[in-house]
Symmetry: C2
Subunit: 235 residues, 2 copies
DNA sequence: ACAGTATTTATCCAACGGGTTAATTTCTTC
DNA sequence: GAAGAAATTAACCCGTTGGATAAATACTGT
């Protein structure tokens, strides 16, 4: 009678559940910030029950921190694969800019999470032993590139690698994270394909020109290599 | 008997009240974001009753929008006083960078408000007729400076003024708005006096070097003119 | 003085939201 | 195949919070 294998009322999958919860939480936190995020929505999005969040991860704050750590983990590991050492210095810088730009484009939630955490003055991040220990040997990679560039005569200045990294991140990050208000202010759609190409060209031109002292030439190269839209025509 | 002027139980001051409410709201929203802000705290901070917010401004959202519009209003009006037209082009750019940097330093709530609004993808700002109409003739000011710089031979490239403005804002904004997480990551206090001086020098050097093509010279000038801390020593 | 209006205070409440408790179902292992 | 552990569900709890109602107090004109 009860011979046929009864259909299960639910599946068991702790690993998968935890991942789905973190993924759903990432979306929710990046879309609504910490205070705006709703625990119930995260549960629903993860195809789970609210209780599960507490069972598998912890309370809202722990969940948020876990998401944040995951996000840092991901970008750091991709960065490690960049390996700028064997490119000639200007090309290395160009690749760094393009990587950063594309990473931000591909991972908009990362930008939102950082914004949210900065609004909280990094209150949560400070408590994270994990993130503090994973701050990358990336700065050393950049330092090496700059040194080599100066030695080879490609670069005019031995700029501080941290300043340079912050500047590159700034140029990419701000444009994207603030594109909504900037688009309203300037009455342009800054996320249109053309606009994004133009921006990348501008950033590469700006940074390389500053380092090499070849403004005109480099802005020109940047312009033509990546897009046909004018970077500098609107004068 | 009831002759002596009875002490008033409360003062009447609609204008002042409205201002106090907006100021309190600005602090609350910038400190906690839209969702995190508490209407009761705003009321308390304004030395008022919660009901007053609704009487004088409207509900939470309208209050938020009013604060945002006020913030834009303020920076736009200060910008108008900049008047870069009669400076020689490189000096004009330097002044623009310094103004932007100092404005952000003096008005950290402005940064927070913009971050908050961008997390909301400018949902509220889009509904604001006021802000859309006040988007400044600032771009034209910059365009003129760039034109003059190219004509005089100071600048090598006729860069798009909007890109330039966004880049300058980016360099200043990101450093400050993300200083909390960056400080944790890099293990430096980026808001220390020295660090801020170093940053300003770096930004001026970067942008002017790119425009003029005089990297080494300009980084050097930027370094020595504003601080004795090295911009480019850490190689 | 008196009426009418503008401003402020004092309560109240329904919905929401994070977190908990307790019961149910699946897996493991002996 | 029974017991115990792990995973999942369902239902409830209770402080918070945005917003509303109604009453009190000050101002204005007549």
């Amino acid at each position: 009678m009860a011979k046929a294998k009864r259909t299960l009322k639910w599946q068991r999958d702790p690993e998968g559940m935890r991942l789905r919860i973190l993924e759903a939480a990432k979306q929710e936190f990046s879309a609504h910030g910490l205070a705006g995020a709703r625990v119930d929505r995260i549960a629903a999005k993860a195809g789970a029950n609210k209780r599960m969040l507490y069972y598998h991860v912890g309370n809202k704050d722990e969940l948020y921190l876990a998401v944040l750590e995951g996000a840092y983990d991901k970008i750091r590991s991709e960065e490690r694969g960049l390996d700028l050492e064997h490119l000639d210095p200007p090309e290395a810088i160009r690749r760094l800019i393009e990587f950063t730009w594309n990473y931000f484009l591909r991972n908009p939630e990362f930008l939102s999470l950082l914004q949210t955490e900065n609004l909280a003055r990094a209150k949560h991040l400070k408590r994270s032993a994990k993130v503090k220990s994973m701050h990358s040997p990336f700065v050393e990679m950049i330092r090496t590139v700059v040194r080599r560039g100066v030695a080879s005569g490609d670069f005019q200045v031995a700029v501080d690698p941290v300043q340079l990294y912050i500047s590159i991140a700034a140029l990419c990050f701000f444009y994207l994270s603030n594109s909504a208000t900037l688009s309203v202010i300037f009455g342009r759609d800054l996320l249109a394909k053309d606009a994004k190409d133009e921006r990348l060209a501008h950033m590469v031109g700006l940074v390389l020109a500053a380092l090499t002292g070849q403004s005109a030439a480099l802005f020109e190269i940047a312009k033509t290599s990546k897009s046909r839209t004018a970077v500098a025509q609107t004068v």
